[in-house]
Amino acid sequence: MGLEARLKQDGFFTSTVDALVAWARKSSVWPMPMGISCCAIEMMASGDPKYDIARFGSEVMRFTPRQSDCMIVAGTVTYKMSHVVKKIYDQMPDPKWVIAMGACTSSGGMYRSYSVVQGIDQFMPVDIYLAGCPPRPDNLLNALMQIQEKIGRTKARDFGDNPLPQLPVIQNN
């Protein structure tokens, strides 16, 4: 990183807390893999040694929303599934980001039909829309880099203590 070379001289460096926190956040974006259909295969491929999402600090796919920063919604979201996606999104701690991976997630894609939500932005916020059907792994890495760029521009105070969202009561069904 070149950091060691600088530390050799005086043993310290100066920065702002904002820059440091943003740097730490963007270098370890832990994804929540919301793999619903075929995009999930490409998402898995992006973790393999050929594409190696670990180069961007995102190799820790967390299968619990409570430990993740970025939800990769990879696949067709039906109306029935939308409640599950939203429930998991609500459980992620702030700050959090969302990648809408692929055509289905972004706009319904080729499923122009009664059962598929025509874009997940109808019920949750989206940071990056990722084109492709399914997108190649390098395309997902590009989306991740854009998320990192976005996180790099944030300041620590952008994420004040928001009131907790009202979580839906889970009915016993």
Binding site: Y79, K80, S82, H83, K86, K87, R112, S113, Y114, S115, V117, Q122, F123, M124, P168
Partner: protein
Amino acid sequence: MDLKELISQKLKAQFPEVDFEITDYKDQTAITFDRKNIVGVCSFLKKDNDLQFMLCEDITAIDWASLPAGRHGRKNRFTVVYHIFSLKLNSRLRLKSDIDESDLSADKAGCNIDSVSSVWKTADWHERETYDMYGINFNNHPDLRRMYMPEEFEYHPLRKDFPLMGIPGSLPLPKK
């Protein structure tokens, strides 16, 4: 004796009062008959020693979308189709039964046919799917709930009068 003749003879001997219309299409045999006899005919085809149609492969329906005036020359709007397979004869058979236009009302009493889940256990879920998609009620079904669509959904998506993009607001989205 080929399959068509065998089945034709057997059915006519067993059910002399029922009209069977036996047709061939691309080497596939289909039998059309009145829906009142569906359970009797199915259990006969399954239990007869020479036929043994043990396996119910699929149950589905056709919506002919015929208008009340019968523009397409059809009296019935729906046809329920059963695909069954005999391991003994190594052959398939298609059963068809019409549901008349006069039975079209949406309530349970109208659009209905007897369930064959007492004959083939696997018919249970096939019939639930057909109910979900076409709104055909299967009498005496043990558990006639929707298969794919949410319980509170009011429509039947594969009916021809159902719009492709659905009824706006009929499927709830989570709050933003």
